[in-house]
Each structure stands twice: as C-alpha cells, then as structure tokens.
Symmetry: C2
Subunit: 189 residues, 2 copies
DNA sequence: AGATTCAGTAAACGCCGTTTACATCTCAGT
DNA sequence: ACTGAGATGTAAACGGCGTTTACTGAATCT
C-alpha cells in the first residue's frame, strides 16, 4: 500500500500498475495477489485511506466556528478544495464513474464530508439564518457546486478563457465568489 | 468512426479497443492507424461529434422562450441532463480529466453550451430580472452545479441514501428543485 | 507507362492484469 | 522435537491491450 500510495501521488493513476507496485514493494507481481484480490481493491483501499484522513481533519477545523454559522459551510468547501488540489489523483479516482476502469471507492454518497455538510445546513436553518428549504437538497446543491467546480478545473485549463484565473488560485477564487453568490441567495429574509 | 460510435454507445468506454473498432469496421487493427494517429484521437472525434449534435439542438430549443427569461436557463439545464443521460459514456469522456487514460476532447471550457449559458445570464441581467453579479462567474456557478450533479449521479447510487430519488427521475427532480433554490437566490430584489 | 501515394495485411513489441504451479518459511498441536 | 498446514513468495505463462514495422496491392497523377 505504501508503494501504491507513492506511485499514485507521484506519477498519477496511470502510473499505478500491479507490476510497478510490486517493484516498489520489492516483490514480484504475483505476490501482490496474496494481499489484494485485484487491482481495484488495492486502489480503493489506498484512495479510501486518503479520504479518511480528510474526514479526520474536518471536525477540528470546523470547531473554530460556532454551530449554525455560514462560515462553517465555507470552511468545509475550502478544506474540500485543498484536499482535491493536494491529492488530485485520489479525488479523480473516488469520483471515477461506475463501470469505468476503476469503479468507485467504498465510500457511498452519504460519505463523511457530505454528512457533515448536511448537518451544517440543518444547523443554519435551525439558527434561522438560512431559508428553510429541504436540507438534503441544499446539501446536494452545495456539494454538486463544489464537486463540479473541482472536476471542471481538473479537466480544463481555464486560464485562457478566463484571464486572471491562473491555475494557482483560480479555483479558490471562483469557489469563494460563487459561494458568496449562492449563500447570499439562500439567506433567510 | 461508426464502429467506434456503436461500441461506445453499446458497451461503454471500456469496450472501445482499437482491435474491437477494427473488427467492427471489418479491418485489421493496423489499418486504423492510417486514419487516426492513436486511440485518443479517434475517441476525441467520436465524442466531439456527439457534443456537436447537442450544440446544434440548443438554438431551436431555446427559441421557445423570450430572451432574458429565466426559463431559458432551466431549458438549457434540462437539455444538458437529457444529453448526459442519453450518452453517459460520451459525457464521462469529455470530462475525463487531463492525464487520465483518455485526455479531454478538443472542446475547451468555453464550449458551446457554456457560451450560450453565459449569454442567457447576460440577457437576464440586462432584462433586470437577475442580480448583476459577474455573468461569467454566474455561468460558471450554474455550469458547475449541473456538471457536478450529473457527475455525482453517474458515479453513485443515490437511491439508498435519498429514498424517493429513483434512478429514473432522481437526477431531473434534484436538478429542478435545486435550480429553483439557486435561481431564486439570484433574483434581483 | 511508370512513379507515387493510399489503404490494407500480418506479425511482432512491450506493457498490462491475472493465474498457475511450485517453493519456502513460520508456527501451533501433538 | 516433529510435522503438517497456512501464509507468503517466485517464475512463468495467458490473453488482451496500444502501437509499430515491413510488406503488398490498388488507385492516382504526370
């Protein structure tokens, strides 16, 4: 798993072959199959571990803001983006659609970050600062915006189309601004 | 290309191998390389053709609504979803991130549907029905929400987590409801 | 008519995920 | 202390993949 982790981080998903992993682990390819039934299982576990690390960081980071504050949602989004930026290969693999080369990881839709997001939304509604729409759908709206933005920025180069959005900070800038548009509209009035 | 189109539609991206395409075209694998420099180029062209078909349908469909009407944005979203549902393999390949097995198709971020979306947003702002935020960012916000929603629904099975959201109509339902949340918030007041 | 280009074939190369047959090495139960 | 079973490893192969190479015949151009 350490060898796979290294390969995934350093050369991306394409570089993770059972042979390369075995070589990195100082072992022949066949030996790998004593520990994982197949490549998918190995990759799933490696990716799942990375996301578990993200989940473990969410609680402490959110504690900086009071329950029911909009800032919690913003903070969650920033953490999500930072993770995707730091571990693009993991992020892509988690959301690699079913039926593709590498099927999705164990984590199901209600996985950690999203469950927390939904709770933040419920708190905001309970605190009376957010319009009381269906919190599950609000969470899905916020999640899809974040995921969509990340996915688009991982897929395309926006620097030509949107000058000023450089690759370094473009994603964060767009995410912050559009988040304020979105959350402003969801404010209770 | 016809053979590749059939394979992509019928068995998905995994089923599209140069050997299978050649077989479908009644030719040996090597012959394919007289027409396409490599597999990526072939897949790109096939996927690009599908999206060009979508683009050609947008104009007529939008003509049903007056310029500057919110309904245009909704209609655009519905067409986008319908396309993704009808051609999931194409949709996934277009947004397959750079560096993955199949790099992104020629269409760049400002590709057809998004350019139209941005124009609709400008029209809404000009008509005075939408808050006058940066239209490019509003378009990006709307696009990322649609793309994120589609991507999530292509990746995960939401029927367990969100009972009532069956696979048949769940995506459309969520898209419609969250769109009303979002556009309501963007309304000028 | 002859040269050149085009489109095709057959076979190979190196990579991949995975399986098989076989060798060890460890260690609990008698 | 011996033994046999399970865990772990190796070497080699299988079939599939994208792609390249050398060669062949037909079509086209001058």
């Amino acid at each position: 798993m350490a060898a796979a982790r290294t390969l995934l981080s350093d050369v991306g998903a394409e570089g993770v072959s059972m042979r390369a992993v075995a070589l990195g682990a100082g072992v022949t390819p066949g030996a790998t199959y004593r520990h994982f039934p197949n490549k998918d299982a190995l990759v799933r576990r490696v990716v799942a571990e990375a996301f578990e690390k993200l989940e473990s960081q969410i609680g402490p980071s959110l504690a900086k803001f009071p329950v029911g504050a909009f800032e919690r949602i913003g903070e969650l989004g920033r953490m999500y983006i930072a993770f995707a930026r730091a571990n693009p290969a993991d992020y892509r693999l988690l959301f690699a659609p079913r039926g593709e080369n590498r099927p999705p990881v164990e984590l199901e839709p209600g996985f950690g970050p999203v469950r927390v997001l939904e709770q933040c939304v419920r708190d905001c509604i309970a605190a009376g600062v957010m319009a009381d729409y269906d919190p599950r759908l609000i969470a899905l709206l916020l999640w899809s915006r974040m995921h969509g933005l990340i996915s688009l920025f991982l897929s395309f180069d926006f620097s030509k189309e949107y000058p000023g959005l450089d690759l370094e900070t473009g994603l964060e800038t767009v995410a912050d601004t559009t988040r304020s548009y979105l959350l402003d509209g969801l404010r209770r009035r």
